[in-house]
């Protein structure tokens, strides 16, 4: 998605002076924009690449935050009204999870007063922060990784290892798209994507907003452990893809998947293989041979830099 398309997708959700500033900002600035953050009575902040900027009402980026546009409670209210089409009741489940996915697959995180009931979180009210995380597709960004995944002629169980913001979800999406659609090097496969946080496919109202391939079934907003079992029972996938595994129940479900002959490709938060081996559940999973391939990512040369390929054969 180019800068102009991102600008057109995102700016209509903002009102008043925020809308003015963001509309006047040059489209090139959106090209590498990762986040737009609104906090009540604080400057609007834009995360562009590795830098954080304020924005003036003339649409200029500034490091001098006192000159930047401040977001008011009214701005937050109008932005949330706009995101939810003035219908917060229609987004109860999303608000309970803490974010709403908007068309284009962009994720809008919400913070405010959390309403807790006996059964858990009921919702959020009195919103005080909004964070737009801009989703972007980088087609073919997994090209360097795919030959390793297909090295034996079949898909190898793979773990994408990376700290946050190093592009593991974008890589996972591209792997899903490539394997699902197929290529001369890789025949097409039926894929089940367990998209607990709606980040891989960016589903909005049941429709994947990002390209995850021709033969991908998406279980959106589904807890990973349940989703994996559901997918195996009902969708007969050849490959199962899930983002950010790590909880005990995820590990148990993964073990079931591996034992049922489904190839799994997952991501996990860790800086490197040493850090990974300090997590007992994952260490146990690796010692049982659940994964044969590890791909360590970093931001050294931009998000998605492949630092290391690990083989656990």
């Amino acid at each position: 998605m180019d800068g102009q398309a991102l600008k057109q997708a995102v700016t209509p959700y903002f009102a008043g002076v925020l809308h003015e500033g963001l509309s006047r900002l040059k489209a090139e600035a959106y090209q590498d924009m990762e986040e737009i953050r609104l906090r009540a009575a604080q400057p609007l902040l834009l995360k562009i690449g590795e830098s954080e900027w304020g924005l003036t009402s003339r649409g200029e980026l500034t490091k001098k935050l006192p000159e930047a546009i401040n977001a008011t409670r009214e701005d937050l209210y109008r932005t949330i009204a706009s995101i939810s089409d003035n219908s917060l009741y229609a987004f109860e489940e999303e608000i309970r999870r803490g974010f709403i996915t908007i068309p284009g697959g962009h994720r809008v995180g919400l913070a405010g007063q959390v309403i807790v009931q006996a059964a858990g979180i009921k919702g959020i009210k009195e919103f005080s922060s909004i964070c737009f995380r801009l989703a972007r597709e980088k087609k073919d960004c997994a090209r360097a990784i795919l030959p390793h995944i297909m090295s034996t002629g079949t898909i190898v169980n793979t773990l994408i290892i990376s700290p946050p913001r190093c592009g593991k979800t974008t890589i996972l999406r591209d792997i899903a798209r490539s394997i699902s659609t197929g290529s001369p090097a890789c025949p097409p496969h039926n894929i089940a994507i367990i998209d607990e946080r709606s980040e891989i496919a960016g589903t909005h109202r049941g429709l994947a907003q990002l390209d995850v391939g021709l033969r991908s079934d998406v279980l959106d907003a589904c807890p990973k452990a349940w989703g994996m079992m559901m997918a195996i029972r009902s969708l007969s996938p050849q490959v199962l893809i899930a983002d950010e595994i790590g909880r005990k129940e995820d590990v148990e479900a993964l073990r079931e998947c591996v034992n049922s002959g489904v190839a799994v490709i997952c991501s996990i938060h860790a800086r490197n293989s040493e850090e990974l081996s300090k997590r007992p559940l994952i260490k146990q999973l690796l010692s049982q041979g659940a994964f044969r391939l590890g791909v360590v990512l970093s931001r050294r040369n931009g998000p998605g830099t492949v630092e290391e390929i690990i083989r656990w054969d």
Partner: protein
């Protein structure tokens, strides 16, 4: 000359009589409009709390369900929200109320009650929306009862008083 006088007297009595009849009819229309508004809010409540339709769609469907002049409220607010110009539900709802005020026989008290909904419409969970719309319907039902009682008592008075007033003016002129 006598013929002219008779015609003039008849015109005055008929004119005042029609004015009285219209006033009586307005009281009946107010009761009908309150009832229509209550039913429309019931429909909107179901659209929001059971179907989870986005507000602009829920209002548009309610406009189709209800009859003028009550449908003006829902059609105006839905139209404004569907334009997606950054308008909030409260602003759209208040604009709809202004439309209703122009076209209906409802009184300031009823308009004030409807305006209270603007602060909460659309911006809470389904159970809170249901509570809000149920409460509005209950309050409208009370106003409807009161309006019905007022209409019962005043209908005959307005119906006859127009003609009586006309006759009195004719007598004074003679």
């Amino acid at each position: 000359m006598l013929g002219l006088k008779i015609m003039g007297a008849a015109s005055i009595i008929t004119g005042f009589g029609c004015w009285g009849l219209n006033a009586a009819r307005r009281m009946d229309r107010r009761v009908e409009q309150l009832q229509e508004l209550r039913l429309a809010l019931g429909f909107l409540e179901k659209e929001i709390s059971c179907v989870y339709s986005p507000l602009s769609q829920a209002l548009a469907k309610t406009a189709d369900f209800s009859r003028p002049p009550v449908s003006y409220l829902f059609a105006t607010s839905s139209g404004l929200l569907q334009e997606k110009t950054g308008i909030t539900a409260a602003e759209a709802w208040n604009a709809g109320i202004e439309g209703l005020r122009l076209h209906s026989d409802l009184q300031e008290m009823e308009m004030g009650l409807m305006a209270t909904a603007s602060l909460q419409l659309g911006i809470s969970d389904a159970s809170q929306q249901k509570k809000l719309l149920t409460l509005l319907q209950e309050e409208l039902a009370l106003l409807e009862q009161k309006a019905m009682q007022q209409a019962e008592g005043a209908r005959k008075m307005w119906t006859y008083s127009g003609f009586i007033l006309g006759a009195m003016i004719v007598l004074l002129l003679i």
